[in-house]
Symmetry: C2
Subunit: 209 residues, 2 copies
């Protein structure tokens, strides 16, 4: 699908056809495509919990304002943003350094420099840690919603959930912020899709101080 | 361009051809395409400062680790994420309500409900305000980088800057987090583009606790 078509046709779909499944291969493909998103120092601070199981989706629905789409959609993703993705010892951080050395982008003796650079840019304050996690995971999640559309699937990003409730139900530690849930499936064509919502104009987006 | 090609061909380009300009029409088009990105309650908490002027880019470069691409790229965008985009009185918040009523999605008497809903989801803590701003602006910025590629342009997202320095130089208040700068232009073909960097595999992205 053309990029612009994917941007236009991607809509937050409220009703999923419960008779139409999504294959594991489709989920793998959209996650792999989304993983091409850029990130600060290529640290990729995103993780995904995939829910397919009926009981697990019911557990999630209970802590997500009882939204029917959580159990109606064949797949629901809990998107996680790693607030420690910049930190010495973190899995992605260490792999990123090893891979950068392998690729000739960094030298082994730059390890301390690398630790200090990511620490000062992303780790220096709790604010920076959260901003680092959420912005980069935003890149990943946007790419994932477009990849779903490109694969002929529909999605719905959800903010309506109790963060602490989801943490407890799925044993998610404070290391991860939970920026969103994404339901994936097929739009229920017996329902009506609302017209696209308003968007800010170019002039409303630009600002100067 | 096909969506998947845009994902693959979008690369963070370090060297811009200083002889090749980007038109105002191109910038408008990529910002308008990016504006189709979704956001929580459609609040669109993103803003953009466009820098073209040589002196302004030099001012930015001084507070951005002296990165040559800031003055070499014809256009540099300062991306802003509105931490108050969920708040009663905020421009986008008020317009969103008016437009939702016009579209029949909300009723006038739901104004208080709307204020409370966005306040509890996005405004309840400083953490939530920042996460709201950065995640949604991440959707917008990812879309913008893809839209640039689709328009035949190259981009470079930058985190290497002094947030407080940029605030001071461009009079940006604390209302806005500054998640990134994006240089836009044409790759300098006399330089070599490095091979794509490593990405986490599907299995490295999935997690369960």
């Amino acid at each position: 699908m053309e990029f612009k078509e994917a941007m236009k046709q991607r809509r937050a779909v409220n009703f999923f056809d419960p008779t139409k499944d999504v294959t594991d291969a489709q989920i793998k493909q959209i996650i792999e495509t989304a993983a091409l998103a850029p990130s600060g120092f290529n640290l990729q601070p995103w993780r995904v919990i995939i829910l397919r199981d009926k009981e697990k989706k019911e557990t999630l629905r209970k802590v997500a304002m009882n939204q029917p789409k959580i159990t109606e959609a064949p797949v629901v993703l809990i998107i996680l943003a790693d607030r420690e993705g910049w930190k010495k010892g973190n899995t992605e951080f260490e792999k990123d350094f090893v891979e950068s050395v392998k690729a000739g982008i960094m030298k082994q003796e730059q390890y301390d420099w690398f630790c200090n650079a990511t620490n000062s840019l992303y780790g220096a304050t709790a604010e920076r840690q959260l901003a680092f996690a959420c912005k980069n995971t935003g890149f990943f999640a946007m790419s994932l919603m477009l990849a779903a559309k490109d694969a002929g699937l529909d999605s719905h990003p959800m903010d309506g959930f109790d963060i602490d409730g989801v943490r407890k139900a799925f044993n998610i530690s404070d290391q991860y912020w939970i920026p969103m849930l994404i339901a994936i499936g097929h739009f229920d064509k017996t329902k009506t899709l609302l017209p696209p919502k308003w968007r800010k104009s170019y002039d409303e987006i630009l600002i100067n101080f």
